[in-house]
């Protein structure tokens, strides 16, 4: 067993935080959404790896990943719908323009 499970986890963690970084630094709403995909994807990977390495008897991780992919698709769809709506309203999808509501 040369490939330690931790390797996978490190990779997924990096992906996770890359997503977070993207989320808080990208200016375009769609780019932010893309970063979210990274986050979700890394979580999926965690589940799969844990399932495979630690608890292979059941398929809990696998199924969780399966459903998570579905849910992330829903999220994306709704989020994109909203973003498009914003685009219609203000002809622009820059995050900084979402600033009418503030203290």
């Amino acid at each position: 067993m040369e490939i330690h499970m931790e390797y996978y986890l490190v990779v997924s963690t990096i992906m996770f935080f890359a997503g977070i970084y993207g989320f808080i630094t990208r200016r375009n709403l769609l780019a932010i959404l893309i970063s979210i995909e990274l986050i979700l994807n890394s979580v999926d990977m965690n589940f799969v790896v844990f399932n495979r390495y630690l608890f292979p008897e059941q398929l809990e991780g696998l199924f969780f990943t399966l459903f998570a992919i579905g849910i992330s698709a829903c999220e994306t769809a709704v989020a994109i719908a909203i973003i498009i709506n914003i685009y219609r309203n203000i002809r622009n999808i820059q995050a900084k323009n979402l600033n009418q509501l503030k203290d």
Partner: protein
């Protein structure tokens, strides 16, 4: 999974994931960003295959790579204007982001590495489709009919909602 090629595959895919992830969030062109994301997703699917979760890999390819990325690309094309890329964050904000993210990542990685997960029991077998199918449609423990039904309702609701918001009227 003791063979060298396996390892090589893992390292290549890992490298791809790490590199493309970072590029996804650092490139200033949104379309490229989507493309890099696609690569990341591909690589992830590759890892699933490598872990012998072929079904999952396939789902990943079909839904993520096939479905979601296409959605992204269309909406990007629909909404992008030229001036978008000009927008840049202040360095201080980027720095704060980088530092926080690095701190978080360091914490997580440190804890992950130092954590004792106990003995790993790697079983390299492919999961048969039939097992997956029964589990998905069963009502016993470790079977997932209820979530399956629930997610269908979720999808329905999201579709209705998405349409309501996105349609022109």
């Amino acid at each position: 999974m003791n063979s060298a090629p396996q390892e090589a595959v893992f390292y290549i895919l890992s490298a791809a994931i790490v590199i493309f992830s970072v590029m996804t969030v650092t490139t200033r062109r949104i379309l490229r960003s989507a493309t890099y994301l696609l690569f990341v997703l591909f690589a992830t699917a590759g890892l699933y295959f490598q872990l012998n979760y072929s079904f999952l890999g396939a789902v990943q390819l079909v839904i993520y790579a096939g479905g979601i990325i296409i959605l992204y690309v269309f909406s990007i094309l629909l909404t992008t204007t030229d001036k978008d890329k000009v927008a840049r964050l202040k360095n201080s904000k980027i720095l704060a982001g980088v530092l926080t993210v690095l701190a978080g990542a360091a914490l997580c990685v440190f804890i992950t590495i130092t954590h004792n997960f106990g003995p790993t029991r790697y079983v390299g077998d492919e999961v048969p489709m039939k097992v997956i199918g029964t589990a998905l449609m069963g009502t016993e423990k470790y079977q997932y009919l209820l979530p399956f039904e629930a997610i269908s309702l979720l999808l329905l609701a999201c579709i209705i909602g998405g349409i309501i918001i996105a349609r022109k009227r």
